[in-house]
Symmetry: C2
Subunit: 438 residues, 2 copies
């Protein structure tokens, strides 16, 4: 029985999880693969007490792993994009296969990495970079390989989903939940990547490319986070039958590809609306399979390690294959990856939730309706609350759900509404997504 030699770079939570999973489940892994997967070297600047490193070669220099002639597969779990890129390129240069969980690196430097790997005839796998333990890359590249994908919509950032779930279920404010999430370790000390949608945009960038066959274009992704979501909007959305979720959406249209990350209202009965807490789920709509969905823990040491080791196992089965018979890095053969225009957000089509405070005077609603209809925007649902105070001219909230319309028209209408003298503050706008099979 051939054994495969692994070198793990980075012994943080995921690195330690991977090291321990290979150790704990070595019997079942061998029963399935017919091979032994051995970690022969690990590298980090500090030890991780969660791992028993007594029988493994420990190096303080990660690049030593990339140069180690005994290592077949280098597992990059150091994170970041500068040193990680150098490390992976060095491993490839030394003819090693690479497994990584690094979504930022793949989204931003995947083109360079895959080009280098192709030249050397080595594999680079990244299942763990999206959706933790959910085999979503496998589903897209293999399970749905006979399909044309039409769109993908996913809850792909656990921190944002946790915060929104807590805000809704416990009527708490964003800042309050965020600080608790940080204490519980569900959110980073610097939560920007998660709550601003950057992490989700990294993942969506990869999903879009493997679904549609265009090059990675992270810099073209539209990204909006959840920091502006308020209790008021969560309550109005609920009253209208919706829940607010932070989604990554990519859709192929004739005029280009939508690639956008933002909060959205989705119907409470939609499956994605029922994904709670830190869990992730990705809905894929494709021409043959229809809508399929993949759900699971989107982060965490052990679920992510599950995906890292699945990639390693897949590699052990493809080591002896010529490159052309392996699954292509980005799902399509390199010569069939075609440039696609990523649509600016002003060109997407969506329905919208609008909320505004207007002085409670006769004719204001007519005014707003007229502005919307001038931009061909229909109103699908409306909430207009009575003023609570007895005084005249108190501001009252108006909430509108519109029909689907091009975003630039909505921008235009909102600008006009914001010119109304009796409007107080600005118009809150959240997109409304219909995720039923289309």
């Amino acid at each position: 029985m051939k054994s495969i030699n692994i070198g793990i770079c980075g012994l943080g939570t995921i690195g330690a999880g991977t090291f321990n999973l290979i150790d704990q489940n070595s019997t079942i892994i061998t029963q399935r693969t017919g091979r032994e997967i051995r970690v022969i070297q690990v590298s980090d600047l500090i030890d991780n007490p969660a791992c028993d490193l007594s029988s493994v070669d420990l190096s303080r220099d990660i690049f030593e792993v990339a140069r180690n002639p005994q290592v077949d597969i280098l597992v990059e779990l150091i994170g970041g994009t500068t040193t990680a890129l150098k490390l992976i390129l060095s491993a490839i240069e030394n003819n090693k296969h690479v497994v990584t969980a690094n979504k930022a690196l793949i989204a931003q430097h995947g083109r360079e990495i895959f080009a280098a790997a192709e030249q050397k005839g080595v594999m680079v796998a990244y299942e763990a970079s999206i959706g933790g333990g959910i085999p979503i890359v496998k589903a897209l590249r293999e399970g749905l390989a006979a399909n044309r994908v039409q769109w993908i919509a996913g809850i792909i950032n656990g921190t944002s989903n946790y915060i929104l779930t807590e805000m809704e279920e416990k009527q708490r404010d964003f800042a309050d939940v965020l600080s608790e999430a940080q204490q519980l370790g569900y959110a980073e000390a610097d939560p920007t990547f998660d709550i601003e949608g950057i992490d989700a945009a990294h993942k969506l960038t990869i999903l879009s490319s493997i679904a549609f066959g265009h090059p990675l274009q992270f810099d073209q992704a539209y990204t909006e986070g959840i920091a502006e979501i308020t209790q008021t909007d969560i309550r109005f959305a609920s009253e209208l039958g919706y829940r607010i979720k932070h989604l990554g959406i990519t859709r192929r249209l004739e005029e280009g590809v939508e690639l956008r990350v933002h909060p959205a209202l989705i119907a409470k009965k939609d499956l994605l609306a029922n994904i709670s807490g830190v869990m992730n789920a990705v809905m894929v709509n494709s021409d043959a399979a229809g809508s399929t969905m993949y759900y699971g823990a989107g982060a965490g040491a052990v679920p992510t390690a599950s995906a890292v080791v699945a990639d390693i196992i897949d590699m052990t089965r493809s080591l002896d294959l010529p490159s052309a018979e392996r699954i292509p890095y980005m799902s399509f053969q390199p010569e069939h990856i075609q440039e696609e225009k990523i649509l600016p957000v002003s060109e997407i089509h969506s329905a919208y939730y609008l909320r505004m405070d207007v002085l409670d005077k006769p004719g204001e609603m007519a005014n707003i309706s007229r502005i919307l209809s001038e931009d061909q925007i229909s109103i699908e649902a409306l909430i207009q609350k009575e003023a609570h105070t007895s005084g005249q001219e108190a501001p009252v909230p108006i909430v509108i759900i519109t029909d689907r319309v091009k975003e630039s028209l909505m921008d235009h209408a909102i600008a006009a509404i914001e010119e109304i003298p009796d409007l107080r503050g600005r118009v809150t706008r959240i997109r409304v997504e219909s995720l039923a099979g289309e």
Copy 2:
């Protein structure tokens, strides 16, 4: 570029769907695989007008496909277990790889088929046999390959789920919905396989073996259908916060493996409770990834064809591999498939919903509580309705949710309750499943 030659046996809905999908998506399939997949021969007793067969060799004898030296992969879509078994064994004998959507055949004759295939060094794939277009076999055999699976719970029969959904949402009776489902084509003229749970048991048998590594044991599966489910039970379940779903459940315990198909109450907030209509979903709980779920259309020509063609694509990538490096048929290397005791249903543990009609006399509830407590069964929830009639001694319903207990104890308690002279009719018993990550 190497092309792969396919022969399709059976041109019913799935056969036609497969033929057309390969035709319609040939460009994208080639862009992904780097190979052309060509259907060179089809066989059925009658033509299917849904397919343009003008450029393909049509044979009336399916065994001709199995003997055709030009065919690399035979796709068995004739259904049934007698001729289909002969056909597949003949194809294997002739060194052909086989793709099938035939769950009954794999569940009942998989051992013989895989043994023959192993001897000849050919592949046999069956993704389409479970969950239509959902890549659940791939998820279990590959995506979760580093995991020990703990349990699987799935809605794996679309007809049963459609009927239960309609019964709940429209307050209609079983017989009424079934006859409509037959008219709409969602249920067969003879619906026994679907509504009695046999189809689900075929699928669960396969899932259990590839999850846990024991031989296929369809004859050991416990099978119960949905024909006894009433509006009364659906309403009481709802009042208690549950929905009734038809589930396939398999779980590995120290004393053996649970393998059971039956209706069950699950909490409305559970994801599986929110799978409606003909859709399928399979929840897998495993040690590393935790709970992951796979959702999609469980039947239908095109979703099933999506899985058939995914299997073909996978095969094109493994043609040149030695058998030992391919994914094992049943997920584990043949020498590591170990006999496991399938637990008789009397030995499973479950919570229970009990409903009974008892004359409204003092002391009856105390009587029932005493019987349950004698078998160490705790009551978790209770509904006791007032008699609607003014007359004395009218029967009133009592509904009880119990704690988890061994089924044999529950059988014993129910037998004792049914001895109560004031009980009218029998005790209705439905299992209650807790599907949160355990």
